[in-house]
């Protein structure tokens, strides 16, 4: 087994955590059933620790084994792997040094690489969107078509008037009139184009898609809303673009409706009695499970102190709401893992789905995932229902009999023998 720097760093974190809690080394050793000298070696990184023992230490220190094993570098590691995934085609095969070593030894550089990769991805997206807009924006293409048609008619008519050769007065008057008409039309199309471009220039000044702007806004406020729902006068911030403002306004309305349907005292009372027992909470508060998921995820103080993650996607699989939970990676762009119950739920609409998930990676973690796909909007005989799926993620309450190993998207998933892998991983596969 290789000694990677970040694994070496687990010792001091264990020591620091133990001291924070005021537990003596000998007492912790006894709890763990190991000798104090062995624990001492671990704390000074003279012994590797992993697997069951690390989990036991984490439990004894009331923390997460991932936190002890990876610490702050954990987040950087995922970022570095994602950055590696974005390498240009010609460099995909180049050997990369161990990201764990980089994250541990040069955390500042690791953060820089991670931030830059995120920014590059954002810019690439913005470019694609602008390109799409030039090609597909119906208003833009219609306006340009109008401009070109008017110009064509004017050019042709004026060419006829300017040409040699006799022309009777009636034709002359007709072409003059046509040019006049077309120049008016041209003026209108040009003006509406300018107005459109003027209006579009401001909202899109940030190199982010509207959904990313919403995500950033939510992250900035740490997904915090009053227990009674957003204040009636709370408005989307001016700092985001028009499209993101509309998305945020929708979200605020939804959250207000959620709070009205599931009043704060009722939710608090149910959480106090059931804790993170989602089936019990659903049994009691029932109704619209998406509403319940949102309400629970964003309830101040979490679900009995546990922070829940929530992903919502539409029928295309595009994520429209993303509240991450520590240890369970949600890819910033693109699809997640095809094994997520989020997607499975879409195949069995309206049927609640429970799965215990185990993340693939050096420090596997278990999560309880609850998913259900529900129709959105009103279906009619002309319009089929469109389903949205939501998945609530909580650190596992207890070890389930069967767990499903999932990743965070194929490119950065080290699962060695996944049967549904869509594309090769750019990280080393693990056992």
């Amino acid at each position: 087994m290789s000694r990677t720097p970040s694994k070496r760093a687990a010792g001091p974190r264990i020591r620091a955590r133990r001291r924070d809690l005021g537990i003596r080394q000998a007492d912790l050793a006894r709890t763990l059933g190991i000798s104090a000298s062995y624990l001492n070696l671990i704390e000074h990184d003279h012994r590797q620790v992993g697997g069951k023992l690390l989990s036991a230490i984490a439990a004894a220190l009331d923390t997460d084994s991932g936190q002890l094993a990876e610490g702050a570098e954990g987040a950087q590691l995922d970022g570095l792997r994602a950055a590696a995934a974005q390498r240009p085609p010609g460099h995909q095969g180049d050997p990369l040094e161990d990201p764990e070593a980089i994250a541990a030894r040069f955390p500042g550089w690791a953060r820089l690489v991670t931030d830059q990769a995120a920014r590059i991805a954002g810019l690439e997206r913005a470019l694609t969107e602008m390109n799409d807009r030039m090609t597909h924006d119906p208003f833009l293409s219609e306006s340009l078509h109008d401009v070109l048609s008017s110009v064509t008619a004017i050019r042709s008519s004026s060419g006829i008037l300017m040409g040699d050769g006799a022309m009777d007065a009636e034709w002359q008057a007709r072409f003059h009139r046509n040019i006049h008409e077309d120049s008016q039309r041209l003026t209108e199309s040009a003006q509406s184009l300018v107005a459109y471009l003027d209006g579009a220039a401001h909202p899109e000044r940030t190199p982010m898609s509207p959904q990313e702007e919403v995500d950033a806004w939510l992250a900035e406020r740490d997904f915090t809303f009053p227990a009674e729902g957003p204040d009636p006068d709370m408005a989307p911030p001016d700092t985001v673009g028009g499209a993101a403002r509309a998305l945020i306004a929708d979200l605020l309305d939804t959250l207000r409706a959620d709070a009205a349907a599931l009043p704060a005292d009722r939710v608090a009372d149910a959480i106090a009695r059931h804790g993170t027992d989602i089936p019990a909470l659903a049994g009691e508060m029932g109704g619209d499970l998406h509403r319940l998921f949102r309400r629970l995820t964003l309830f101040p103080g979490g679900i009995g102190g546990s922070r829940a993650g929530l992903v919502i996607c539409d029928a295309t699989g595009v994520q429209t709401f993303r509240r991450p939970v520590s240890g369970f990676d949600l890819p910033r762009f693109g699809a997640g893992c095809a094994l997520w119950p989020l997607y499975g739920a879409l195949a069995a609409p309206a049927i609640p789905l429970y799965r215990q998930l185990e993340t693939v990676g050096r420090t596997p973690r278990r999560f309880d995932a609850y998913a259900v796909a529900l129709p959105h909007g009103v279906a009619t005989f002309d319009t089929p229902p469109v389903f949205r799926s939501a998945m609530l993620i909580l650190p596992a309450r207890a070890q389930a009999q069967a767990t499903l190993r999932v990743g965070a998207g194929c490119r950065i998933c080290p699962h060695p023998d996944c049967t549904v892998r869509r594309e090769p991983a750019i990280v080393a596969l693990t056992g």
């Binding site: 078509h145 070109l148 110009v151 008619a153 050019r155 042709s156 060419g159 006829i160 072409f175």
Partner: protein, 125 residues
């Protein structure tokens, strides 16, 4: 006897200008402005050359061209395709659909006159 050209275009002022130009050149000019019924117009008028706009109400010029090329009666008629978008993709689509020539708006009067002269043979004028 002049040759017949069918101008399928929905912008009335472009139609008027082109009709004037081509008539002066000795063409018998018929016009049609609806994409959906363009094939009927071709069958009725039996033109020697067709000038076809790519963006028509009712039906795309590319689709019309594809149908013209698959029907034995019309497969050999020279077609000049007009488009308001000079993008390479449009040109490729026009070529794939079987356009004899391709011209982007705004074109000059001499361009269209010369082009039609070539497509119709030199005896038109």
């Amino acid at each position: 006897m002049g040759k017949r050209v069918l101008l399928i275009e929905d912008e009335p002022n472009i139609v008027e200008a082109v009709r004037y130009l081509l008539t002066r050149e000795g063409w018998a000019v018929d016009t049609h402005s609806n994409g959906a019924t363009a094939l009927d117009a071709v069958a009725r008028r039996r033109p020697d050359v067709i000038v076809l706009d790519a963006m028509l109400p009712g039906r795309s010029g590319f689709d019309i061209l594809r149908d013209l090329r698959t029907a034995p009666d019309t497969s050999a008629i020279p077609v000049l395709m007009l488009t308001a978008r000079g993008q390479r993709r449009d040109r490729e689509m026009a070529e794939a659909a079987g356009a004899s020539r391709f011209m982007t708006k705004p074109f000059s009067n001499s361009d269209i006159v010369d082009c039609l002269r070539e497509l119709g043979g030199h005896d038109a004028a």
